[in-house]
């Protein structure tokens, strides 16, 4: 094991890791269990986190490659008790069922809206195309991202 210095949700953390550990394994061991383990092969998107502002599959990133880069997990999105507008929109639109895909879906939406405040439906579909939901038909998640985009543009939340 070696020590890795990671910046997780704005806080510097020193964690023990093997050279072959994935970011998913290290984050979950560090207590960030909002980063879900699904397929382990980049197909489902349940482990999505932001690395330097871009959504990635944490199962397909070596933890060592995340050193000195900014990691954002779902736990770092809310501001204290106040949920992020995307999280609020997912609740308001009923875009959560079992919830396993939700952290990844929300973070992919966050990546999209931080670069494109006015996405088309096609752009939203493309942005969340790496996040599989086994419960629903994606309609409510797409509506939630549209709602979040509207609220973020107008400075409203809920």
């Amino acid at each position: 094991m070696t020590s890795l210095e990671l910046t997780i949700n704005g806080a510097r953390r020193v964690v023990d890791a093997n050279p072959g550990d994935t970011l998913l394994e290290v984050l979950r061991r560090a207590g960030h269990v909002g980063v879900k383990k699904g397929c382990g092969s980049g197909d489902c998107g349940a482990c999505t986190v932001l690395l330097d502002g871009r959504a990635v599959n944490a199962c397909l990133v070596l933890a060592a490659k995340a050193e000195k880069r900014a990691i954002l997990t779902i736990e770092g999105l809310a501001n204290g008790d106040a949920l992020h507008p995307i999280q609020e929109a997912f609740l308001d639109e009923g875009a959560v069922q079992c919830g396993y895909c939700t952290p990844g879906m929300v973070l992919s939406a966050y990546d999209l809206l931080s670069r494109n405040p006015t996405p088309s439906e096609g752009e939203i579909r493309e942005a969340i195309s790496g996040n599989l939901c086994r419960c629903t038909g994606y309609v409510k998640q797409i509506r939630a991202v549209q709602t979040a985009a509207e609220r973020m543009r107008s400075g409203r939340n809920g």
Partner: protein
């Protein structure tokens, strides 16, 4: 990624952090046998990684790689190594510090450094303006945004999966691959893949796309089971249009199931021609007959020949509809 390969590569009796646990389930046989045991975690090849080297020059990286070819691999974005770590590999050579990632335009065309992610390439304004946005449109159909944010062009070129959309696109764009194998050199992409039998493949350091006429256009067609699954077959064409006729025609087909190759007979059949439905139909038929299609468990040879005909026809029909009409 291909299902049974993935099972085989990650399915093992070894437990990542200790001895094998009790057998929970098993499926498949031979090399495709996958056993699941209590305590198993995936990505089993990774637990053998003992160190990650971080060279800052290509020469240093190459010396590390050639000093022990069996136990080392170059590490780019890392996706492929995580999914398919060879069991002999114990040291990864992280090549991300060898150059600054990005796309730059020069007098001879575009230069893309090997460490540039596919997302960054498809978002680059230089790429949107190049060959009518052909490469951008291809990259948009490669894997998912989550993977494109990690995968590098150098990794895609070096790994060269037979179904690679990236390799296919670079072939029809007449791209050069910049490599280092003790000395820096630049080779046409087709030659790079033709000479890959050497013991240690050269380190890919960049891609060069030649300057193209403003009338250059391209089209891409991929047949896959789902939106970001690997293709059963893919094909692409790039042409320059002048006075209503095609020139510098490039047509390639990949995932046949071999790595993409150009189809010179098809290119010759369209060179200097006006792309009418008759010439397009003839070219598509010629492609179907000439493609090196074979059976594998994902598709039959016959099906791949049919896909080739449909794909080539669609590519040229799309070019005619979207880009070339104004030039005709």
């Amino acid at each position: 990624m291909e299902d049974t390969t993935r099972w085989a590569m990650r399915g093992t009796t070894a437990c990542k952090h200790g001895k094998p646990g009790p057998l929970v389930s098993a499926r498949g046989d031979g090399n495709n046998r996958r056993e699941e045991r209590e305590g198993d975690v995936e990505d089993v090849g990774l637990h053998r990684i003992q160190s990650i080297a971080r060279p800052t020059t290509a020469d240093e990286a190459w010396r590390l790689r050639t000093a022990d070819p069996e136990t080392t691999r170059f590490l780019g974005g890392g996706i492929d190594l995580i999914l398919y770590t060879p069991e002999t590999v114990t040291t990864l050579i992280d090549v991300s510090r060898l150059g600054r990632a990005g796309v730059s335009a020069g007098r001879a065309g575009l230069a893309i450094s090997a460490g540039t992610t596919l997302s960054r390439i498809l978002e680059a304004p230089e790429i949107a303006a190049y060959a009518g946005g052909f490469l951008r449109d291809v990259l948009r159909q490669v894997a998912s945004p989550l993977q494109r944010n990690v995968a590098t062009i150098g990794g895609a070129v070096a790994r060269a999966h037979p179904w690679s959309d990236v390799v296919l696109a670079l072939l029809v764009l007449d791209a050069d691959v910049e490599v280092f194998d003790g000395a820096a050199r630049s080779v046409p992409a087709a030659d790079f893949y033709a000479s890959r039998s050497q013991n240690v493949a050269p380190l890919v350091t960049g891609i060069r796309l030649p300057k193209r006429a403003p009338s250059t256009r391209g089209a891409f067609e991929k047949f896959a089971r789902t939106g970001f699954d690997v293709g059963l077959l893919n094909c692409a064409c790039v042409v320059e249009v002048a006075k209503g006729t095609c020139s510098r025609v490039r047509v390639a087909v990949g995932g046949t199931p071999a790595l993409a190759r150009r189809l010179p007979d098809v290119e010759a059949a369209l060179e200097g021609k006006r792309p009418s439905s008759a010439t397009i139909g003839d070219a598509a038929s010629l492609a179907a007959r000439g493609v090196d299609a074979r059976d594998d468990r994902r598709a039959s040879e016959l099906y791949r020949r049919t896909l080739t005909e449909v794909g080539v026809r669609r590519c040229f029909e799309r070019l005619t509809r979207d880009g070339m009409e104004g030039a005709l």
